[in-house]
Symmetry: C2
Subunit: 223 residues, 2 copies
Amino acid sequence: MPRRAARVPVAPKRRAAEIRAAAAKVFAERGYHNATTQDIAEVLGIRQASLYYYIPTKEAALEAVCLDGAEGYMTRAAAIQRGPGDAAHKLAALLREHLEPLRDRADFVRVFLRERRHLPDASRRRIGRHARRYERIVEQVLKEGARRGEFRRGLDCRMAALAAIGMCNAAAAWYGREPEAPLERISGAFAQLLLEGVSRAQPKPAARRNRANPRRRPDHAER
Amino acid sequence: MPRRAARVPVAPKRRAAEIRAAAAKVFAERGYHNATTQDIAEVLGIRQASLYYYIPTKEAALEAVCLDGAEGYMTRAAAIQRGPGDAAHKLAALLREHLEPLRDRADFVRVFLRERRHLPDASRRRIGRHARRYERIVEQVLKEGARRGEFRRGLDCRMAALAAIGMCNAAAAWYGREPEAPLERISGAFAQLLLEGVSRAQPKPAARRNRANPRRRPDHAER
DNA sequence: GGTGTATTCTATAGGCTTATAGAAACGAAA
DNA sequence: TTTCGTTTCTATAAGCCTATAGAATACACC
């Protein structure tokens, strides 16, 4: 402990992050069960068995990647919920923050979304609880907006929350492959879409284009 | 060929469908690469090797299930697009039809959504083209609505189409586990959400509740 | 140069899975 | 009862993958 000063404190942490990043990349590309530890090792330029110096099992690597991918979502969402601003701004902020990790950590997010179900029961359930709490935060922001009259009264907040989260998570699948779709465009379009469908048209919906936009009146019900 | 009359015509087709259904169930539950042919055989109550009387390879089974899961989407969407009604009704119909297969064929749909990427290149690309054509139909319905002034002018139709499809596909993940969410509620809520976010408020938005709903004016840009 | 820790290596056991070969069982029709 | 096509069975080869054991290397510090 005393003398391995200059090397141990920094490098190991960085190396561990590199291992996780390699695992995330491979799991995201090929799917957990289709990915081999050999694949991960190749990304790192080391031998397959050398990986086991860092991870106890392949499953543990998946768990680490998933935790990493989930990290922060809850916290940031809760901060937005508690923070200042009306419900419309909060919803737009939730969307932005939900999509933001795709910029730098898309692999982690994708593995979290698509592969966490292959975790052993214990950790899968733990992570599942996080996800459900996150859903509830979005739902509550919507409920709060409806309660305050900012959003429409009869709004089905549960479905709306699931829709919002669902469209964002779907974006994780095509982000980067869809041409001409930077995050700003995605979150802007999603916010506008949701807000004008959800809000009763407060002063500040998350509209990016089309400002001078006199609306006609929606007056009839469908069917 | 001449004398196997009474038995061959019916049973084999049904049996083949049972095989596919078993494969779909197992692939949906465990994921393609985690599922074994043994698992499928167990569902059917036969031996693992007996499966190979029906399928040439496990991969072929996946392809059959995916094709089955994708079946009809394109056709029905195209019919809606060409059919009568305004864009709002068409969009609502697209959502309904997109979600409807979850009622009886959820396993197939889920496998199509989550496991098709593990198909060999050729068939994966073929199926991918279908999916993209489907996206384009949704997008065109939106464009048409915007062109005719039924939807808002500056509407980002591409993002809106991806959002709509994304929220529906996300629903495939939680449908059946989410309590109190029959398909009617889902498609109704999604339609209302999208339409009021998308339309410029023509006579008939897909509103189920809240009709008298005078909107205030959205006038400011976000940020 | 010697020492000790961290990191990577070679070699391989052991388990699981797909797919094939060939035999058996089952029925319907002759 | 025999025949014949269909369906399922037993047995197993062959390949792939995870994880372990133990040796070798690198490198900082004395």
